[in-house]
Symmetry: none
Subunit: 417 residues, 2 copies
């Protein structure tokens, strides 16, 4: 009975440590226990033949609960039963009733090796496995509660959900920690860290996690109002479009916004090469919003697809505000959509110059009101990162364009990210 | 210098132990090291705030090599540097040269918290991080070699591949098992498994690993000739374009092939929504091959972008061989490229019908010799998977088109994948 309960997991299987299969048990168990207020501190993946009682002892020493999965099979390298017996200092005994139960439910005549599965460590009880032959085990060593579950996913998950979770919820009265999550775009962890440090001292602590093209920010501790004030401070500091409340997928967010407003959108992409339209059309139902776009990678296709004047493109340069404006306006008119967006820049690694270095991207937006604006950026990183950042900037600009156009100048801060 | 070398991994991140994200580093590192003949015995996932020097000590005690990932960020809960210093019993010192290097490559003036990343444990050396601010670390404690790598996937992978692997291969003379790797497209693991079982008994064993849009096949044991005969059998069985020798990236492979042959390529995408052009333009230098493409998601944009007759599209249907042919030919002519490819289909989840169910995709190819062919497919899976399979089929068709056109009918086997 404590307000915090620490859990460790030991997942046994050589195929996990040699990379043959991807472990998914760890996340399955950890996310469920975290929801319930438990704190999972360690997840150890160990090979069949090299996992030892010491591993189990180390985990038990720092945990209120240890959950083992795997190593309960019928073969001689399945040694979880032996490890539990060694840890508890007890014997390992054949149980006729357990064997009768396995034999009644499975045709194990050919598999006398299954008899190994009817051995139970002293002081441990069994948990019935309705999906397979290996019963689960439950026992206490010192102050630590131990569960051993079978390794096959459907057996493990069923036993965890049906037997372990209800048992833990009844035994431990944990307090679930409240937190606030935000999703951050065109920001770095160190910029966030520095800004968080500027918020007046409070009971709120922060943590970040870098995702693909975004950073998750978690604010924990304090009262809900304090966490909200903290997020409000950061939104004020960076501009609210860059820090969105909750777990946000930017393309889905933008498509939903356009759907709500009944706006349509088309794109003319040069350096992003189709990434923008790929991300938009990843979203089921995006066809309501997005009639299409062009990927005009060469000056020639810019001219032909978009009916632009090639000599004019060459006068201003392919990577220029003028070209970005012409592309956005042209694709909007051709597609008959409300808003057109364009991307032209140098994603690298080649193609940069002193005047227009790698990372330079012009974004153009043209609206049905006839307004056309262009936005120059300088992004850092690899070809892939520059392309992703350009597209993220496009989504944020579109959001501001359709919701609060006077704030468009916010883009000036999204530089050198 | 031993014939066996044991490796442990310590992956630090609270988001790994609370189930927010799925760890993929463990499998990435473990499968590569296993290929190279190392034995990965333990993979420990630990939370930021509860991972301790003891964890590192326990892993070091049973390993020749420990690789740590994560905890090298600029924030105060990033404690890998401190743990390494504590384990080695040395000090943790600010290194001006490391800081100068970080500051020269990144605009970190605003991010003074990055200074933490210029602290190096005594007796450790740094490994340059070309993708991010945190340098890696390398040092020896007792008989154990330790590496610390940054946590973000692209930083970790690059440093592991470019710095750690060559270093380990040079330092440890492990007995590598010889094997043959192939990359398989438009195949499932179970189809591969069944076909492998049909090969006459040999000393060769097989294993598969599912990647993003591909499956890696490993043939191990036996003589090299036997492994080659095994792969030859599978290539004969499935068509050689679906099983490529080595580790192959399909878009890069196709772009290189087109470059060699000096062919240019353009695309007209409907259901794939820009995924094809995105993948092509991911490849640096693809502009030599790819002048551009159009994403014509609606019938209207198909007509306008591609100068097609809208009533004709509606007569044949948007998802039809006729429309695919017209799209491919039109984009080829508009772009002035040698070959045009088109994709039109139903990626789902909505939009399917009894006649044209979700998963139906027509691919069209038009060549500069005037030939136009269309290829109907039926793919299984989610929206994302259907789109990826369609694009993979497009790449394979293009390869056959430019190398051995008479084999184009192979596509008939790439169904219901």
């Amino acid at each position: 009975m404590s307000s915090k309960a620490y859990v460790s997991l030991l997942l046994i299987g050589t195929e996990l440590t040699n990379g043959t299969i991807q472990d998914t048990h760890g996340r399955y168990i950890a996310s469920r226990l975290t929801e319930l207020g438990f704190t999972v501190t360690k997840i150890l993946l160990a090979s069949d033949d090299l996992s030892t009682t010491d591993d189990l002892r180390n985990l038990a020493a720092c945990s209120d609960i240890v959950i083992v999965s795997g190593g309960l099979g019928p073969t001689s390298d399945d040694i979880t039963r032996e490890m539990l017996a060694a840890l508890s200092g007890g014997s390992l005994d054949f149980k006729q009733d357990v064997w009768d139960d396995i034999a009644a439910r499975f045709d194990v005549r050919k598999g006398q090796s299954n008899k190994r599965q009817a051995f139970v460590p002293e002081h441990f009880s069994t948990i019935q496995n309705t999906k397979g032959t290996a019963p689960g085990l439950k026992g206490t060593v010192g102050n630590t509660l131990l569960y051993a579950l079978p390794g096959p996913p459907h057996e493990m998950r069923r036993m965890f959900d049906r037997a372990v979770v209800p048992d833990l919820v009844q035994s431990f009265h944990v307090e679930t920690e409240e937190f606030l999550e935000a999703t951050c775009f065109l920001l770095s962890e160190s910029l966030l860290e520095d800004a968080c440090g500027k918020f007046p001292r409070s009971g709120v602590s922060w943590g970040t996690r870098a995702g693909e093209g975004m950073i998750h920010l978690y604010l924990r501790g304090g009262m809900q109002q304090e966490r909200e004030a903290f997020l409000g401070f950061l939104q004020e500091y960076f501009g609210k479009e860059r820090l969105k409340n909750g777990s946000v997928d930017l393309p889905a967010y933008t498509v939903a916004l356009f759907k709500d407003l009944e706006y349509t959108l088309s794109s003319a992409e040069s350096c992003t090469g189709g990434l923008f339209s790929k991300l938009v059309t990843d979203i089921p139902g995006s066809s309501e919003v997005f009639p299409g776009g062009v990927v005009s990678y060469s000056a020639g296709t810019k001219a032909v697809y978009l009916h632009l004047d090639r000599s004019e493109i060459e006068t201003h340069g392919v990577v220029s505000g003028e070209t970005a404006a012409a592309m956005a306006q042209s694709v909007r008119v051709l597609s008959g959509s409300d808003i057109g967006i364009s991307f032209t820049g140098i994603a690298g690694p080649g193609g940069g110059s002193t005047e227009i270095p790698v990372g330079t991207v012009w974004i153009g937006i043209a609206g049905h009101d006839g307004e056309i604006r262009t936005f120059p950026f300088r992004f850092k990183g690899s070809r892939d990162r520059i392309r992703r950042k350009a597209v993220a900037a496009g989504f944020l600009l579109l959001e501001i364009w359709v919701t609060e156009k006077k704030r468009l100048d916010s883009y000036r801060k999204w530089q050198y990210i």
